[in-house]
């Protein structure tokens, strides 16, 4: 777990990329996340999360096609690496374990 520091927001972005598959480029990721979080996100926050995770090796990317709407600029399609999958699975297990170990009482109160 040591080298796989993943922030909460980063994790969300990573999951979105994984979910979107071939459509995972900046605008689409933003749209998807905004819908799910019911909140406005800035391009800057998404982009910096993407770039950080690419540096950490969670994501790879390649240029996609250009559209007129984008002023002739190409998209960059992101895809998750196997390392990312491993980390995401690990995180999920840790969380599930913690949920499991939570006493019933505490659950009721929450």
């Amino acid at each position: 777990m040591k080298k796989t520091k993943l922030g909460e927001f980063e994790e969300l972005v990573l999951l979105t990329v994984a979910a979107l598959q071939q459509d995972a480029y900046g605008v689409e990721i933003k749209r998807e996340l905004e819908e799910r979080l019911k909140d406005k996100l800035s391009v800057g926050s998404i982009q910096s999360a993407l770039k950080r995770m690419e540096e950490k090796g969670f994501l790879t990317s390649m240029f996609g096609d250009a559209t007129k709407k984008r002023g002739g600029k190409r998209k960059r399609i992101y895809s998750t690496t196997s390392h990312a999958h491993k980390v995401l699975a690990e995180m999920k297990d840790i969380r599930a374990g913690l949920w499991e170990s939570m006493p019933k009482l505490a659950l009721q109160f929450s």
Binding site: V27, S42, V43, R70, R74, K75
Partner: protein
């Protein structure tokens, strides 16, 4: 054709993101991310255009752009700017400081010179700010207007600051745009508070005064002006009558006439007025008090003026509509008054620029800033001169001393510095030096030059560092000075080839023609400023002695309230053996006069008019040029006038027959007069004002307001004291008002000597700068040739030889500078004196000669100091030095 059209329409429907955020984005975002992010941004933008308006989309785009500027996405900016330059500049800075320390003399000359120039620039700034600030403290300055009119009195249209009495109230009633109105009527009264009595100027005004003008109160309320029994004081008057205490509620008695008095309650004291203002007040009371003070003061009389009428409109454009409909009032006015005083138009002068226009306005209550604008021109020229002197010093020293730094430049260049970097190095060194000079200059300006100037002129510029424009100005000075003084040396020095420098084959600085040109130019400037100092000093001395055209020395005058007082005082003074003659008059030279319109065939001519008695000419020593004075019988010469030579000169150019003025007939106020005498011209105003055409009429006895007397020579002071004493005995309730005629222009003489003082100060700095520059230049020259001189001395050269050698290259410069400088100074100063003074001394060559002589002395002293140093030095030391 068709396809082109559709293309066009398609293009126009396509919206683009705002230009400048895109540019910022392209500049800041990392290259490898740019295409993706710009594409994303554009896609979102197009979505937003579809959802919201274009404007909102653009706004969102801009905001998103700002949020994109975060460290992970932005280029490494320091990498583009090459951060390692920091070390380079650090090195430059160090080198400049070391350079300054190593050559204390040169540094002193440079920094002192520049700081003196900057100090004068700061004085210029302070004074210009002071002038431009005049009246700008009034919050309503843009919507308050002074009603004025134009009238044609002697062939030219002339503006008057007074207005017919009923105009103000009528304007307020007739125009919805006129929101507020206030009239101001100034009068002189006797103010009595406990046992103190003084003559003071009071102002009757309307309650709106404080709403229109921004004169905040220290104590009391401005609304109290509405109360007919209240009086509002200026701070100065409050201190004069009540000291530092709060006088609210205290009583002050005003004696309007001898028997007519009224007690007022102080309800307000104004805060100290800002220094730069064109008008103010001492005592303010409600306008209706005029009815009490002067029962026959008719508010509805179109033939009589009030000192000023101000109106306030809703917005500046309203005044156009009002001005367009003033014809009606012009008709009323011109029907009411005699033809003489017919006016041609009413004009509204905005308060904001009133001080600039007041110079050409007659009978206005406001002061003019015209002479201040003149001074700004002078100060600008002086600042420029000083700046040039200081910069030339710097350039000369930089060029000559660069010889010592050739090796440094050679090394820098050979390890990779381009010419550009060397230029940048020299300029940045310059900025360091100029920065020191700026700090010193600001201190010098703030604590020496400005106080000196203020003290000389008895005012305060209210200079403050809390002023954003000042800092911009200082920054501009810093950059300008640094570049102006540094650009030539930087280019010159960086020019040389490395190989030649290191080989030592560069001959440098000693024979630079530019250095010589600059030195010559400096000496010319010094010569001009020196001449101006001498000439202004000469002029001041001359002006003090300049004859006034009448005999001031033995004349004494006193103001009297009425004929009775005149008779009583006259009767007592006639007993005094020292009194040679006594005269009564309605007006008095330098104190009061009136204007009249003289009707000539087909022409009107405006003149000053003094109503006097027959003894007046003898008493004041006015000399007769032709004809006779009034005869001394009572009511003798009611239809006679005496004119001055100036009037005769003017009229003889216009009308035939006036070469023989005696016996000419003129008409004034529908009465025929005959010219019986001509007097020589004299100055009834100070020398800053031109002589005006003047007539004397016989005054009615009941109009006597002045008593003048001539004392026997040497007894003036004694007689004056006696006059005061007699007055105090007769009228203990009315303060004495009068003086020796010598003293009527009390501050005039000090003003004159101020001009001389100012120019002497400036010339001192200028000559100091020029001689320092010369000294510095010679020092460098001499130290570069120490070995040469030592060898010469060893070989037996005497002081004379050395002196010739040291100064050889300068003689031609000195002579050239003086030969060019002297005539320029003479012509320039002649022009300046004509521009600055209405009357000045007859200009001769003596001023220029004295200035040149002084300059030669200074130059010789500088040179001989240098020669002395060389001839005293030990040749052994000079040769040993390595």
């Amino acid at each position: 054709m068709k396809s082109l059209l559709t293309n066009n329409s398609e293009l126009s429907t396509m919206c683009h993101p705002p230009q400048w955020p895109v540019k910022i984005l392209r500049f800041f975002v990392k290259k490898e991310y740019l295409e993706e992010i710009e594409g994303d941004m554009e896609e979102i933008f197009q979505d937003n255009v579809a959802r919201f308006s274009i404007h909102k989309a653009k706004r969102i785009y801009t905001w998103e752009m700002v949020k994109l500027l975060r460290p992970s996405l932005v280029k490494n900016l320091s990498a583009i700017q090459h951060i390692n330059q920091y070390a380079m500049f650090n090195n430059y800075f160090k080198i400049s400081i070391r350079g300054l320390m190593k050559n204390p003399l040169n540094s002193f000359i440079n920094i002192f010179g520049l700081s003196a120039a900057i100090g004068i620039c700061i004085l210029l700034y302070a004074f210009a700010q002071y002038t431009f600030r005049t009246d700008q403290f009034h919050e309503n300055k843009n919507v308050v207007y002074l009603a004025t009119f134009f009238a044609n009195r002697d062939g030219t249209e002339q503006q008057y600051g007074i207005t017919p009495r009923p105009l103000g109230e009528m304007l307020k009633e007739d125009f919805a745009q006129v929101k507020k109105m206030c009239r101001i009527q100034n009068r002189n009264v006797v103010v009595k508070q406990e046992a103190n009595v003084f003559h003071e100027r009071i102002s009757y005004t309307d309650a709106a005064f404080f709403e229109m003008f921004t004169f905040p109160l220290k104590w009391g309320t401005s609304g109290s002006l509405q109360d007919i029994n209240s009086i509002i004081l200026s701070e100065e008057m409050s201190i004069k009558y009540f000291g530092d205490e709060n006088p609210i509620g205290q009583n002050i008695q005003l004696n309007f006439e001898k028997e007519r008095t009224k007690v007022f309650k102080v309800t307000g004291v104004a805060k100290k007025f800002p220094e730069s203002r064109s008008f103010d007040f001492k005592f303010l009371l409600h306008f209706d008090n005029l009815k009490i003070a002067e029962p026959d003061y008719d508010f509805q009389d179109w033939t009589e003026p009030v000192n000023a009428t101000f109106i306030q409109v809703g917005q500046p454009s309203d005044i156009v509509a009002i001005a367009a409909r003033m014809e009606k009032y012009k008709t009323i006015q011109n029907r009411a008054i005699k033809n003489d005083w017919a006016i041609s138009s009413f004009v509204f002068e905005p308060l904001v620029t009133l001080h600039q226009h007041a110079e050409n306005m007659k009978e206005d209550i406001t002061g003019s800033s015209a002479s201040d604008y003149k001074s700004i021109i002078f100060l600008s020229v002086i600042s420029l001169f000083m700046m040039t002197l200081a910069c030339f010093n710097y350039i000369n020293i930089a060029i000559v001393s660069a010889a010592k730094r050739l090796k440094e430049i050679g090394v820098r260049k050979s390890i990779g510095a381009s010419r550009k970097t060397v230029i940048v190095q020299f300029l940045s060194e310059n900025i360091v030096i100029t920065f020191f000079a700026l700090i010193m200059g600001v201190l010098l300006g703030r604590f020496v030059i400005i106080p000196w100037f203020e003290q000389m002129n008895y005012f305060s510029t209210e200079f403050t560092f809390n002023d954003r424009t000042l800092w911009m100005y200082l920054l501009a000075i810093l950059l300008f000075t640094a570049i102006a003084s540094g650009i030539y040396p930087a280019f010159y020095i960086s020019r040389f080839q490395v190989v030649n420098i290191l080989k030592g084959s560069v001959q440098f600085g000693k024979k630079n023609p530019i250095t010589k040109l600059f030195l010559t130019f400096q000496l010319i400037l010094a010569c001009i400023l020196m001449t101006s100092a001498v000439m202004f000093t000469q002029n001041s001395a001359y002006m003090v002695k300049r004859p006034w055209g009448y005999n001031k020395a033995e004349a004494i005058y006193a103001a009297v309230p009425d004929q009775l007082a005149y008779d009583q005082l006259g009767a007592v003074m006639a007993q005094d053996p020292n009194v040679i003659s006594i005269s009564g008059s309605k007006h008095h030279i330098a104190k009061s006069n009136t204007t009249a319109v003289v009707h000539l065939p087909e022409r009107e001519y405006e003149v000053d008019q003094l109503s006097v008695d027959a003894h007046y000419f003898e008493t004041l020593g006015i000399e007769l040029a032709a004809g006779r004075i009034f005869n001394k019988q009572e009511n003798g010469d009611k239809q006679a006038i005496i004119v001055n030579e100036f009037l005769v000169k003017n009229l003889s150019q216009l009308l035939p027959g006036w070469e023989q003025p005696i016996g000419q007939q003129v008409e004034i106020d529908s009465i025929r007069f005959e010219v019986v005498g001509v007097v020589k011209d004299f100055h009834s105003s100070n020398f800053f004002k031109p002589i005006r055409p003047l007539i004397f009429k016989v005054a009615n006895k009941e109009d006597y307001r002045y008593l003048s007397l001539k004392a026997a020579e040497g007894t003036e002071i004694k007689t004056y004291k006696a006059l005061q004493a007699e007055w105090a005995k007769l009228y203990p309730q009315i303060p004495f008002q009068g003086s020796l005629q010598e003293d009527v222009w009390g501050d005039y003489y000090s003003q004159m000597s101020t001009h001389g003082k100012f120019w002497r100060g400036i010339a001192l700095i200028a000559v100091l700068l020029a001689s320092l520059g010369l000294y510095g230049l010679m020092t460098l020259n001499v130290t570069g040739r120490v070995k040469e001189f030592s060898i010469r001395k060893v070989m037996g050269a005497n002081t004379k030889n050395i002196a010739l050698n040291v100064t050889k290259q300068y003689w031609i410069l000195f002579i050239a500078a003086l030969v060019i400088g002297a005539p320029i100074s003479f012509v320039l100063l002649k022009f300046v004196l004509e521009f600055a003074y209405e009357y000045h001394m007859p200009i001769d060559y003596s001023g220029t000669i004295i200035a040149v002589a002084l300059l030669i002395v200074v130059v010789l002293t500088t040179v001989s100091l240098q020669i002395r140093k060389v001839s005293k030095s030990n040749p052994v030391e000079g040769l040993k030095m390595e």
